[in-house]
Structure formats: structure tokens, C-alpha cells
């Protein structure tokens, strides 16, 4: 046996929208238990990379692997069932569902989704539903959202919406966790909660990739980071190495006034 395969491998992936290159020869490994920081200016292609990994976009060339399984022919919902969970930069909670119902949409196996199986396998379905509910309550408690369980997303302050979006993603309980700017716009208690959750999830063995602009957060949490610019991975290494790079300073911090 060779060394354990990374949970996710992106190999030579390219993607363009019309004329815009959003990913060019991207190579990336995401290993179990690590927290990989994904940084880069707006429009660099970070969200697009998540969309490619979870299957919303298909690469023009290259392949994405979950362990030894190529994913190019696996539809979005199956990738989620295989354990690839992601959050959205703009949260995207279901507006007509309560917080708890949002979470209950998140398990890899949804009780009662297959109608016939639901009718004929009523007992397993009830067991699944019960397990999902217990897990949801647990996650809500962990996030400090127990009091918000029956509210609709619009009734929550922004920080709690972020937490709820992350809570829903955690319901997947899979191998891979892709977090798209989970800390953007939050501070104080919510910030601390998210930091703790990210740490715990990685300690539990999940492969975590996190898009974040806050450098001290990345330095504090991430084992490794990659820097994206114009659809290319320009640099990767520890945060210290990245910060020492002139290229990054020029492209990233130089570009931000």
C-alpha cells in the first residue's frame, strides 16, 4: 500500500465561463484531519473551486477524486451522499423552513425521500428520522442555536444565520467539509463558536477546506494554505511561507486598498 490517499484530490482541473478562466490547471490535495486555508482576492475562483468539487460545475478538463473514486460523472446530490458537504458564501438557508427543518434537510440519508421505500420501510424511516432529529438538536446546542430552532431564517440576526448554515452542513457528517467564508461579517461570540467548530470538525478526522480573508484566522487554524489568483493556484505552503511571498503581497494585499 502506498501512503493514504487524500480525501479530495483535484488534478489538472480547468474551467472557463465563456472567455473567463475561472480555474486553470488546478491541482490540490485535501487530507483528512487537516484544515486547508484557501485564500485569494475576490473573483480569484475560490467559490468556483468549491462548486467544481461539489459538482455544481463540471470541469472542462481534469478530474476530481474522492479517495480513489473519480467524481466527474457523479451528480451533485450523490457527491453529498458520499460525504462532501459545503456551506455557501451567501448562506442560502431555505427561507420557508424553520431552522430545525433546514437542518433536517441535511443528512446524507433523508428519511422518506424515496416515497415507496418510505411507505414500505416505515420502521427504518422512523429510526432515521429520530436519529436525524437528535443529531440536529445536538448540533444546534453546540452552535448555541437551540432557542432559534423554530424560527425562520429571516427572523435571525446575520451571525446566527451563518451559524445555522454551517449547522445544516454539519448534518452531512461526511468526510469532507468545504466552508465558504464562514467568518465573513461575523464577530464576537459567533466568531469564537465557528472557530471552535472548525477545529473540532478537523480533530474528528474530517478534511476541512476553508475560504477566508482574515489572515490571523488562517494563521491560527490552518495547517496549510493555498493562494489563488485568476483561477490559478499561485502558491501553497504554511501561512508563514505564504505571507513571506512577494507575489502574494503584491497580488493580494497590494490589490486591496
Amino acid at each position: 500500500m502506498n501512503a493514504p490517499r487524500a480525501a479530495i484530490r483535484v488534478t489538472d482541473v480547468s474551467k472557463r465561463f465563456g472567455g473567463i478562466v475561472v480555474a486553470e490547471n488546478v491541482n490540490l490535495e485535501l487530507r483528512s484531519g487537516e484544515i486547508l486555508g484557501l485564500i485569494g482576492p475576490n473573483g480569484a475562483g475560490k467559490t468556483t473551486l468549491f462548486n467544481l468539487i461539489c459538482g455544481i460545475h463540471t470541469p472542462d478538463s481534469g478530474e476530481i477524486w474522492l479517495r480513489d473514486q473519480p467524481l466527474s460523472r457523479v451528480p451533485v446530490y450523490r457527491r453529498a451522499r458520499l460525504g462532501i458537504a459545503r456551506t455557501w458564501q451567501n448562506i442560502r438557508l431555505f427561507p420557508t423552513l424553520s431552522v430545525i427543518d433546514n437542518l433536517l434537510m441535511g443528512p446524507r440519508r433523508y428519511p422518506g425521500e424515496a416515497l415507496l421505500a418510505g411507505i414500505f420501510g416505515a420502521r427504518t424511516r422512523r429510526a432515521d428520522a429520530q436519529a436525524a432529529r437528535e443529531r440536529a438538536e445536538e448540533i444546534l446546542a453546540r452552535m448555541g442555536l437551540s432557542d432559534a430552532r423554530d424560527k425562520t431564517p429571516a427572523e435571525l440576526p446575520f451571525g446566527q444565520q451563518k451559524l445555522a448554515g454551517m449547522a445544516r452542513t454539519l448534518m452531512n457528517d461526511g468526510e469532507v467539509l468545504l466552508l465558504d467564508e464562514p467568518m465573513a461579517g461575523v464577530e464576537g461570540q459567533v466568531y469564537e463558536t465557528i472557530r471552535q467548530v472548525v477545529r473540532d470538525e478537523a480533530s474528528a478526522g474530517r478534511a476541512v477546506c476553508i475560504v477566508e480573508h482574515n489572515v490571523s484566522f488562517i494563521r491560527d487554524l490552518c495547517t496549510r494554505a493555498v493562494f489563488m489568483f485568476n483561477g490559478c493556484i499561485e502558491q501553497s505552503g504554511t501561512m508563514e511561507e505564504l505571507l513571506a511571498s512577494d507575489k502574494l503581497a503584491e497580488l493580494y494585499f497590494g490589490g486591496r486598498s
Partner: protein, 285 residues
């Protein structure tokens, strides 16, 4: 009295039609106009397997219902793969096309219609028995639609309508849900059609045209899309109202346009004044 019975049967049948169409369009958000064609396909299938092969009526009704479901998948599977808009276009083709097919198939009676269909019940209590059967089935259908659109399956339907991409990213299969909803809704339309065939014992292709689609849509819109009771109220109102104006004893030349204007007027009125329908959807549901 016979007249009252037939109106009650029609109320039951339209309740099934409106409730099942509401499942498709109101809850599922699937825009199709082919609902009456699944009614017709099952009505003809049930009548014909009984007539030609002697299949017992209850079994024939079941076969007709399943036939409607199977045909619905033939429509929804290829078109939904392309897009939701494509379903609407394909459903128009389905609707117009099948009416022509039925008109031109001799063993289905052709344009003149199919006569001599067997009745489930016979004897003096035939009609009351039919009323009870139809209304019981209608109540069951309303409950089934309610059960489907609430609870776990209903939660998934709402999430899918809120944000399909996010829904899929959580591991849910939107295609499976849409095709299932469409098949269940079409099967229920088929059930209504088969009941209709064995009550009125006559089918004519003219009955299943685009006006029928408009009538059922009106019932759903007036009653309230996406609510359980809306289509029931819509079916009741729009079956009873045209019957009521027949009592005005107007000449047919006035009557026909008046009924047409009634439907159009009601839809417009409700879209402007009460877009949620008579039975407004509860908020947060």
C-alpha cells in the same frame, strides 16, 4: 334527483382533478397543462380493457391509473432533464397530440366517442352508490395529497422549491421528487378519469381539450394554489356555479360565452384581488 347525483359525482371528480393538479403545480411548481390527458388516457384504458378483454372494473380502474402514471413519466422524464420550461412546452404537445390520437383510433370510438362502457354499479341505487364511492375516493385523494405535502416529504418539496441547487448540494435528488410528484398527480387524474368513464359510460375526445386544462387551473387558482383545501373549494365553486347559471334558462348562444367569461373573469379577478386564492396558504408552512 338523477341530476343532483351527477353534479355530486362531478364535484368529487373535479375535487380529485384539482387536488392532484395542485400537487403538481401548486406544491411541486411543475408547470404542465396536460392534466386532462392523463384523465383521458386512464378513462379510455380502463374502459377498453374492460370492454375488449373483460378485465373486471376495479382492476381496470387500477390499470388505467397505473397507465396514466407510466405515461406521465414518459412526458416528465425527458422534458425535465432539459428544463422546467420544457415540461410546459412538451405538455402542450402531449395534450393536443393525444386528443388527435384518440380521435383517430377506431377501437377507442374515434371522433364520435366511445359508447357502451360498463358501469361499476347497477340497479336502482346505482347513482347514490356512485356518489358515495366518488366522494369517499375524493376525500382520500385530498388526504393523500395533504400527507404528501406535509411531513418529511413535504419538507423536502418545499426545500426543493426554495433553492434547488442548495437542495441538491445537501444530498437530495430534485429530479426524483419532481418525477414522483408528477407521476402521483397524473395517476390521481387517471383515477378520476376511470371513475368518470364507468359512471357516465361515454367518452368523447372533445371533453379533454385545452378548455378542460383551463377549467382545472381555474379551480386551483381560485381555491388557492399550494393549500390543501383550496382546490376542494375551487372544485365545488366551479362545478356548482355553471350548474347554477343553467337555471337562469338563458339561450345556448348566451350561455356558452357566459360560462367562458365566468372562468376567465374569475381567474383575472383572483390573480388581482386574491392571488393566494380563497383558502390562503398559512404563512411559514
Amino acid at each position: 334527483m338523477e341530476y343532483v347525483y351527477s353534479v355530486l359525482v362531478m364535484i368529487g371528480i373535479y375535487t380529485i382533478m384539482a387536488s392532484s393538479f395542485n400537487l403538481i403545480i401548486g406544491f411541486g411548481g411543475l408547470i404542465s397543462i396536460a392534466h386532462p390527458i392523463f384523465f383521458a388516457l386512464s378513462a379510455y384504458a380502463s374502459a377498453l380493457v374492460n370492454l375488449h378483454w373483460g378485465v373486471p372494473i376495479p382492476l381496470a380502474i387500477l390499470l388505467g391509473t397505473l397507465f396514466a402514471a407510466a405515461m406521465s413519466v414518459m412526458l416528465s422524464l425527458p422534458s425535465l432533464r432539459i428544463s422546467g420550461d420544457y415540461l410546459l412546452i412538451a405538455s402542450m404537445g402531449f395534450q393536443l397530440g393525444f386528443v388527435e390520437v384518440i380521435k383517430n383510433v377506431d377501437f377507442a370510438g374515434g371522433a364520435g366517442g366511445l359508447t357502451g362502457i360498463a358501469s361499476i354499479y347497477s340497479g336502482p341505487s346505482r347513482s347514490p352508490a356512485f356518489v358515495v364511492t366518488t366522494l369517499t375516493i375524493a376525500a382520500t385523494v385530498v388526504s393523500v395529497v395533504h400527507w404528501l405535502t406535509h411531513g418529511e416529504y413535504g419538507r423536502a418539496i418545499r426545500a426543493m422549491r426554495d433553492d434547488e441547487e442548495c437542495f441538491a448540494s445537501l444530498g437530495r435528488n430534485p429530479m426524483a421528487i419532481k418525477i414522483t410528484i408528477f407521476a402521483v398527480g397524473s395517476a390521481l387524474a387517471g383515477l378520476a378519469g376511470a371513475l368518470y368513464a364507468h359512471y357516465f359510460q361515454f367518452l368523447s375526445p372533445e371533453q379533454f381539450g385545452i378548455t378542460q386544462s383551463a377549467l382545472i387551473l381555474t379551480m386551483v387558482v381560485v381555491g388557492g394554489m399550494g393549500s390543501t383545501w383550496g382546490p376542494v373549494v375551487g372544485a365545488l365553486l366551479l362545478t356548482a356555479l355553471p350548474q347554477a347559471i343553467t337555471f337562469l334558462n338563458l339561450p345556448p348562444s348566451v350561455m356558452a360565452p357566459l360560462q367562458g367569461m365566468l372562468y376567465t373573469g374569475l381567474v383575472l379577478l383572483f390573480l388581482f384581488v386574491r392571488p393566494a386564492g380563497l383558502v390562503a396558504k398559512r404563512l411559514g408552512q
